[in-house]
Symmetry: C2
DNA sequence: ACGGAGGTGGAATAAAAATTCCAATTATTA
DNA sequence: TAATAATTGGAATTTTTATTCCACCTCCGT
């Protein structure tokens, strides 16, 4: 007595539901595919809306929603909706909320509170990178760097760890690079070898270290394409750069981590490495 | 015609609702405080449950929920619930989900996909730090480091950026430190000054760089307390350390970012700085 | 072009849920 | 301690929401 519908094998979690829908993508009749597409694109709506409201937004009848649910194996729409609701429960809380909670925390200046705060700030910063970076800009910068013979790395003080990480990673990827920084004061001599066929990555955050600015200026004037990683559109690095990226690191008690910047730097390095292998082929 | 209830001033978002409830905490009669407490502690339940199910879990009658909502200014329970639901909409999706989406992405090996993948992995790593680090262990390590005269920093290759960041940050915090790394091969001489009144932070990830191990061993044998940051409980650093922390960085296409480690390092540095000022007082 | 199976819209119905109301209980004040 | 007000529990009611059902349409094969 199951009306030709497979009951009992309905997906129990969102992940498998998604897979089920995807694998049957082409088997659904018109209105049901409409629902399928809407469901996967508007998972939140599916979790919160009523059958009527969802039906309206998906331009179908409520009864179609019920049929859709049944065609997947659920008893009705309510069972299907339960899966979408369950999904939301597993989500972590937002970082704003977590930082908020820390601010009101009783033992706020214990070591553990500091750890929690720094982590939350880092989390927030990393999160914001994905939305802040434009994809065309990133692609262009990658292409420019991949075309370079040698990549010069400019950074001082707080930004230095990022440059040293780039030096390490690029080296691993067999991308020739030169860290413009030494205890001997021979930066100028290092840069003297730079030509327009090379490129540079300059990293500096407020307060912008004077030597970094100077190095970036020298390279820029030598016709070397400069890609900048900085923290503001008004950074003095911007006018010296062909490509620039703004990474906003959230602060905790005045301290800014480098989590977002270092993740971005890694992505940049990998992307350049990938692009290189693609060119060679 | 408002039955003595202030309508129209009901909080519109979760944040202000929370504040409203908190500030009236003591004005609520018994059952209503019960609901208030349950609502703030089980925000997810409030979003998804029905009046009946929530009432049951909070050990009150459904009508009490309605009264609670009205006492805050809403027309009824449904309006109150809408606020809890809205809150869930703003949450970001989980990192598992995002990585999953990237794997199935059409343009999976474009530069942008790499950026997205690295960011998601970093996000995941940072997230996991907070749950992986024990609070007592952290406090103890901070105390040990705060008591030290000089903090020696041991790291090579991939871990080096973290050590250099620690050197910078600790310096800013006026905590005396010594980066055990130089282009001159004088590391042994640097470490010769170390005494049991000092301390060390050793950072190494698989594959563990031989010089780092050697340095950590020398310091450990000189009676210097060693705090290690590494990626496994079986790391060769562990037996050499008084305190050790395991930071699991998620990888993207085989590359591991340092986002989590660097956030952890910053937290450690700040906590040590804080502890120092507390001791001096 | 015809017949039929599968698909669809929409009204009718059933189920579930929120809200209201009132009697009972518990606090408060004189 | 009695009178009164506030709070509460729970059944009754209303509203909202999901589901079912059936007439009609569409597309496919002959």
């Amino acid at each position: 007595m199951n009306n030709g519908v497979n009951t009992g094998d309905a997906p129990k979690n969102f992940h498998s539901l998604r897979e089920r829908i995807l694998e049957r993508r082409d088997l659904f009749p018109k209105r049901l595919s409409q629902v399928a597409a809407f469901a996967l694109d508007n998972a939140d709506e599916m979790a919160f809306g009523t059958a009527a409201s969802i039906a309206a937004r998906a331009h179908v009848q409520p009864s179609t929603l019920v049929r859709f649910a049944q065609s997947i194996g659920y008893a009705g729409f309510s069972d299907l909706q339960a899966v979408f609701r369950e999904r939301l429960r597993e989500r972590p809380s937002t970082y704003d909320e977590r930082l908020e909670a820390l601010r009101n925390d009783a033992n706020r200046d214990s070591s553990v509170a500091i750890l929690g705060g720094v982590i939350a700030a880092a989390q927030y910063s990393v999160e914001s990178v994905s939305s802040a970076i434009g994809s065309q800009a990133f692609e262009k910068a990658v292409k420019a760097l991949a075309a370079a013979e040698t990549i010069f790395l400019v950074a001082q003080r707080r930004s230095f760890p990022i440059a040293s990480y780039l030096a390490y990673t690029l080296g691993k990827l067999k991308v020739k690079n030169q860290l413009v920084s030494s205890p001997f004061g021979i930066e100028s001599e290092q840069m003297a070898f730079a030509t327009p066929r090379d490129a540079a990555i300059a990293i500096s955050f407020s307060p912008y270290a004077a030597p970094s600015m100077e190095h970036a200026r020298v390279l820029s004037q030598a016709g070397v394409p400069v890609v900048s990683i900085t923290d503001s559109a008004f950074s003095p690095l911007v006018p010296l750069s062909q490509h620039w990226f703004e990474i906003a690191e959230a602060d905790f008690a005045g301290f800014r981590s480098l989590s977002a910047s270092i993740a971005f730097a890694l992505a940049l390095a990998i992307a350049v490495g990938e692009e290189r292998t693609r060119i060679k082929k």
